[in-house]
């Protein structure tokens, strides 16, 4: 592995070939190409959350140390899920292989590997379903597209279900709405039954379960991380913001992905929240127990996702807040929007969210009682409640990346755009087929944002990066805005690789830079400590 060197962008793109191989995909054994797959989960992390069959193994091993009777476990697992999920059963049956999805997957576009076509990714599982659950498959076998489950098939599942980011782009184009995310979720649940998870998911899951967030930041450390940001904010604005932690009786509980607590550029977004809330005089609290908005459990099993998610409502109840405000994160909002209330609701101890500043009642969140921060901020700006100086962002030429989950699992399109356009004068959209419901994944979602699989990430992010490159070349775009912590973590590497010269920012970093705070000193730098336009060389 040490010898591996990421190919140059030109080499990588010229290695993509969309002509299918001569051999049928069933006859091509899975090949673990270097840097295209994440590392195996650690035994201890699986044990922390009580996952079955925790054991030590690596993907390169010939023998994965599978437990005795694993085939049975998988087949029974399929059977159970077929009876629990209509989506699974239906999507196994109704695909006509029309091919509309084939070239819609970012991993297919970036690799040309036919098993990354959503239709074939589904066939990886469907072929086994046919063999064990349909008459045609039992009788006709291969002729019906069926095949036996064996260790090679399992390895193939592992390789390709961790080469899907559950972004749902294919489901937009499918005439029956077949959602590969549903199938990848099922596939990963099945692998999880055998202890075959990945490190970049299992580690955060274990940390989140025991410590409250994916990064495993303990309560005192979380507080001191934020205090460091408070110091920086004071240096830049002259204002000392004063957030509270685990405070009972606050009106609002604020929950954000832990990616915002550590590392650039995530912390700038976090500083943005702190400054905005301070300026509003918002009666809100952070929680160290529910210090994670994201949910990597969602990438292992729905049960695990529910276990992690339970903390948010539990903490809201304990602290006696009225409603919950959620930060910028992608899959977090898929989970909050489409799962949380079902899993852990009803949140009848909370009130329908009302903005204390504008009086706007968020009827759209009347059951979950959780509002997205761009909904909250867009409402503030619309009501002229913020004093903004967009010229402070004039050195930026900004484009916006719709994160997969808020796009296709929510429909959050206009709110972040409205916010960004209000705080930036130079905004440019990427081409139509690459934004909104047709947005391309960063290539690192659903737990694939590790380093050992860098080539996979660069390939998966190629379509997104290429669209950024288009506006970079055409309009001089130099900043990629987003509303997702994984984006903020993954894009810097992707941009450096494909479109050098484009930075990455959260939306509330842009807001905070433009925000004119009451009593602030004259700002000369932005949150990153870079000179503001027109203020160069002041100090």
């Amino acid at each position: 592995m040490a010898k591996y060197k990421l190919p140059k962008p030109g080499e990588l793109s010229s290695s993509i070939n969309y002509n299918p191989p001569a051999k049928d995909w069933m006859d091509i054994p899975v090949e673990f190409k270097p840097a295209t797959y994440p590392a195996a989960a650690k035994e201890k992390d699986l044990l922390t959350v009580g996952f079955p069959n925790a054991h030590q193994w690596t993907p390169e091993d010939e023998d994965w140390n599978l437990p005795d009777g694993w085939e049975d476990t998988v087949i029974k697992g399929i059977e159970e899920r077929l009876s629990k999920y209509r989506s699974f059963k239906l999507f196994m049956d109704v695909c006509v292989r029309c091919g509309a999805c084939a070239d819609k997957c970012h991993f297919y576009i970036g690799t040309g590997d036919p098993k990354n076509m959503p239709v074939v990714r589904a066939e990886l599982l469907r072929s086994v379903y046919k063999r064990y659950f349909t008459k045609a498959g039992k009788v006709l076998g291969r002729l019906a597209g069926a095949r036996d489950l064996d260790a090679d098939v399992l390895k193939e599942w592992w390789y390709y279900f961790f080469q899907c980011t559950e972004c749902r782009r294919c489901s937009v184009f499918c005439p029956y709405g077949i959602d590969t995310a549903e199938l990848t979720i099922m596939g990963r649940e099945l692998l999880n039954l055998l202890g075959l998870n990945i490190n970049w998911i299992a580690g955060p899951v274990a940390a989140c379960y025991s410590k409250g967030n994916h990064l495993g930041i303990e309560p005192h450390a979380l507080k001191s991380n934020i205090e460091l940001m408070i110091d920086d904010i004071e240096d830049i604005t002259g204002i000392r913001v004063n957030p509270t932690f685990n405070r009972k009786g606050a009106e609002i509980l604020f929950v954000t992905p832990s990616g915002d607590y550590m590392g650039e550029p995530g912390i700038y977004t976090c500083m943005g929240y702190l400054m905005l809330f301070h300026e509003l005089g918002l009666d809100y609290t952070w929680s160290t127990y529910a210090s994670e908005g994201g949910n990597f459990g969602f990438f292992t099993s729905n049960d695990m996702a529910k276990r992690l998610n339970s903390k948010i409502y539990a903490e809201a109840k304990r602290l006696g807040v009225k409603w919950i405000l959620g930060g910028e994160c992608g899959h977090m909002w898929r989970v909050l929007n489409q799962y949380m209330d079902t899993w852990n609701g009803p949140a009848d101890f909370l009130e329908v969210p009302v903005s204390p500043i504008t009086g706007t009642r968020f009827e759209n969140a009347k059951s979950t009682k959780m509002v997205h921060i761009t909904e909250f901020t867009a409402d503030l700006i619309k009501h002229n409640k913020l004093k903004l100086d967009p010229t402070r962002n004039d050195h930026l030429r900004v484009t916006f990346h719709d994160s997969c989950n808020p796009a296709r699992g929510m429909g959050l399109f206009e709110e972040p755009r409205y916010v960004i356009k209000s705080v930036c004068n130079n905004f440019f959209e990427m081409p139509e087929n690459t934004i909104r419901e047709k947005t391309f994944c960063c290539g690192s979602g659903s737990g694939l944002n590790a380093t050992e699989n860098m080539e996979e990430r660069m390939r998966g992010g190629f379509p997104r990066a290429n669209a950024v490159k288009y506006v970079h070349d055409k309009h001089g775009v130099n900043m990629l805005a987003n509303i997702c912590a994984v984006d903020r973590a993954a894009f810097p590497a992707l941009m450096d690789y494909w479109v050098p010269g484009v930075g990455v920012t959260g939306t509330h970093e842009l807001v905070a830079n433009a925000l004119v705070m009451t009593g602030e000193k004259e700002r000369t730098t932005n949150l990153r400590g870079e000179d503001l336009p027109g203020k160069e060389g002041n100090e």
Binding site: R86, C174, Q338, T342, D473
Partner: protein, 333 residues
Amino acid sequence: MKAFYSFLAVIVLILVAIIGGSIANLHFFFGIIIPYVAFVLFVGGFIYRIIKWGRSPVPYRIPTTCGQQKSLPWIKQAKIENPTSALGVIVRMASEVLLFRSLFRNTKTELREGENGPQLAYGSAKWLWLGSLAFHWSFLIIVIRHLRFFLEPIPVALQMVDSVDSMLQIGLPQIYITDLLFLAAITFLFLRRVCVPRIKYISLPADYFPLLLIFGIAVSGILMRYFDKVDLISVKELALGIATLHPVLPSDIGAIFYVHLFLICCLFVYFPTSKLMHMGGIFMSPTRNMISNNRMVRHINPWNHAVEVHSYAEYEDEFREKMKKAGIPVEKE
């Protein structure tokens, strides 16, 4: 090879039908017994499959949102692509079922070498949409037209369908527009599976077989109507008899009719066991048929079982000292 197997299967079916049609003793079997059996299997199988899907619950509300959500009053919601009302869902589903909305979005991805390095482009690709639409709609109209064999007197609405469909008055008998469209569409759908490398790669025998079978039905039907004409009075006599459960076997209809009928019976029997069930499945797809009101109305999962969680009390027990030291409030001092 996969297409060839399917082709072979259809040929065998045609041969069986020809034998059935040319031996008078078998006419009762092929003309009456098989159609009844096929019809029962089709209806029964169809219902069985729908019930089987229906028995699995929909634990989560997972619409694929293809437009702006309903949030703030001044932001325009995409009421069809991201529906929050039953009406919105009905319109969304109708546009999927009747107009193939999602397929209309189709694009074609191309990777080319541009001035500044590789460039991805997404071109328009409406042929699949057009071909599928032509195929399904002409199929539907042809099926509706066939009802005239089962009804006496023929309803006015049916007569109108017939006269509109045959308004291109070319020769006699009048040529149906849908016949032409149907043949063209099946040919297109088949050829793309054989000629487009990527589509060929993903195609299974189960994709070729129904196309070829339906092609056989269409061709035998057309032969019967325009070339090797059969006695339509006899066909109607048989059809009416079957429909009224008083089947009578007319003396001589012609072997080609038996081929047509037998292939239709095969399609009926095959239908519920196959991907053709997308006809019923499309109505049940949770990513399309659910109201996208997730945060407004709680969705109930019937098997929402309790799970083990890490409670706040456990968390505080673990971190109490550190929390106190950092000045974070705790429940138990």
